[in-house]
Subunit: 248 residues, 2 copies
DNA sequence: GCAAAAGTGTTTCATGTACACCCATGT
DNA sequence: ACATGGGTGTACATGAAACACTTTTGC
């Protein structure tokens, strides 16, 4: 056996968003013709082949920018998927055509990222043939992308319990109820709101803005922000905190 | 710009062992001639280029087997390192010569693994030009391997606090003191032994073997084992446990 | 004034932490 | 008999969980 030579490296991004009710993921429509000449339409994660002289992270940001027109996004490496036959047959043919290459094997590095979902982003995705899907309702995906999505979800769950990343999914000004809904929706649990507020506020990283909701037919909620500077300073000083650990 | 074509994928393994006192890492001696014709000897992590038709994980196991003659080893993917110039100049020349390839860029996937260090392993490593170094005393390493090692250490620390992986570093029969020493050495903290025993034993995964130390000039310690089956069953049933969290 | 969501405190229980002495063995 | 590390229990502090009612707004 000899070292692999004719292979490619790709990046696939699992981009999560939260619309206030459920967790969404960005998927790209793909059209291709299978071996029997039939046209197939399915969905895949946004991705790219890496360029020469380009970092994987840079490549991931390039992909993100393509579908969101923004670079100010939480991004993290997830896992490498390297089964030799993960892209083969019709799918390999599609890929070689699409990227105008001639490769026999594609190893992909999955990244996962979190965005503050808004109407601009939804429109932006639609422009590029992509759509935000409810995570729960995703069935089949191209190649091994379903596996990648599952692993990203697992990571998101774990991270949500141990790091303050929820704020990457919310606009910078949010109500505590929105924050709680996010935890409940993603973790699939119910949380007592008194205990939730106590825990969150006692962290010391949630600041009142002084502003309140307007034009709501109930008691208006106060808006808060997350003090990221303070958090990062504390982390650097090794004051590791137990941000939230409803881990059972 | 166009997709990268002439590149290679490698696997590098950070293999940790524990000798009862301090954390060790396996490093391989490398000899090469630099641009000025001077012979340089340094150390690197054990690694390989991936073969055609070979999984990354398989490639990592191949590397492990090379230096330990065993496959029964804890192994986990860590991170991909992809800086375009991470292997360049003399080092790239060395690599092309060593593996008899002709590549312009090497992206590496780091794996980290834990072994039960014993005299057989030490001898086995020596046979292959490798040595077990005290982690604290590692200075310079080839390429970006120092960075990789640092990241593996961070992962080990985090995992030690949240998962029962300590047992991958101890022989299957161990005393509680040995276990405690391991935590203290790796995390760099002191632990009260009464509290340690209480916590560890109350987990329900530590079983007495009934055997005791022999020929020691003090009260002989009891040997215990870790009930991995029970732990894995509980994990599968989503009874996530908080194994140890002396995290701060 | 009523519907709808926001906001607020106390008690109980489990878990973490601090702390000091006796025990079993080899020499 | 003494040196060496093994092994044990209790009291206190902290944090999680359970639980129900009042407040503010738009209509």
């Amino acid at each position: 056996m000899s070292p692999q030579t004719n292979h490619s490296l790709s990046v696939d991004c699992v981009i999560f968003g939260f619309d206030g009710h459920s967790l969404k993921v960005l998927l790209v429509e793909r059209e291709f013709v299978d071996g029997r000449g039939e046209k197939i339409v399915d969905y895949k994660l946004p991705g790219n082949l890496i360029f020469e002289n380009e970092d994987l992270r840079t490549s991931a940001y390039r992909t993100l920018a393509e579908y969101t027109s923004t670079r100010d996004i939480y991004l993290r490496q997830l896992h490498v998927f390297s089964r030799p036959d993960r892209v083969s047959g019709d799918e390999l043919r599609w890929l070689n055509e699409y990227y105008r290459v001639n490769t026999t094997r594609v190893v992909t590095v999955a990244y996962y990222s979190l965005v503050k979902l808004d109407s601009r982003l939804i429109a932006c995705a639609a422009d590029k043939g992509a759509r935000w899907f409810d995570v729960e309702s995703v069935n089949r995906l191209a190649m091994d992308h379903k596996t990648i999505l599952a692993q990203a979800l697992e990571m998101l769950n774990r991270q949500l319990m141990t790091e303050p990343i929820a704020f990457e999914l919310l606009s910078s000004r949010f109500t505590l109820r929105q924050l709680q809904m996010l935890y409940e929706a993603i973790l699939g649990i119910e949380i007592d709101n008194r205990n939730f507020r106590k825990k969150v506020l006692s962290s010391g990283y949630i600041r009142e803005t002084g502003e309140k909701e307007k034009n709501v037919s109930h008691k208006p909620a106060a808006y808060y922000t997350f003090d990221k500077q303070k958090y990062q300073k504390d982390v650097r000083q090794k004051f590791r905190l137990n941000f939230i650990n409803w881990q059972l």
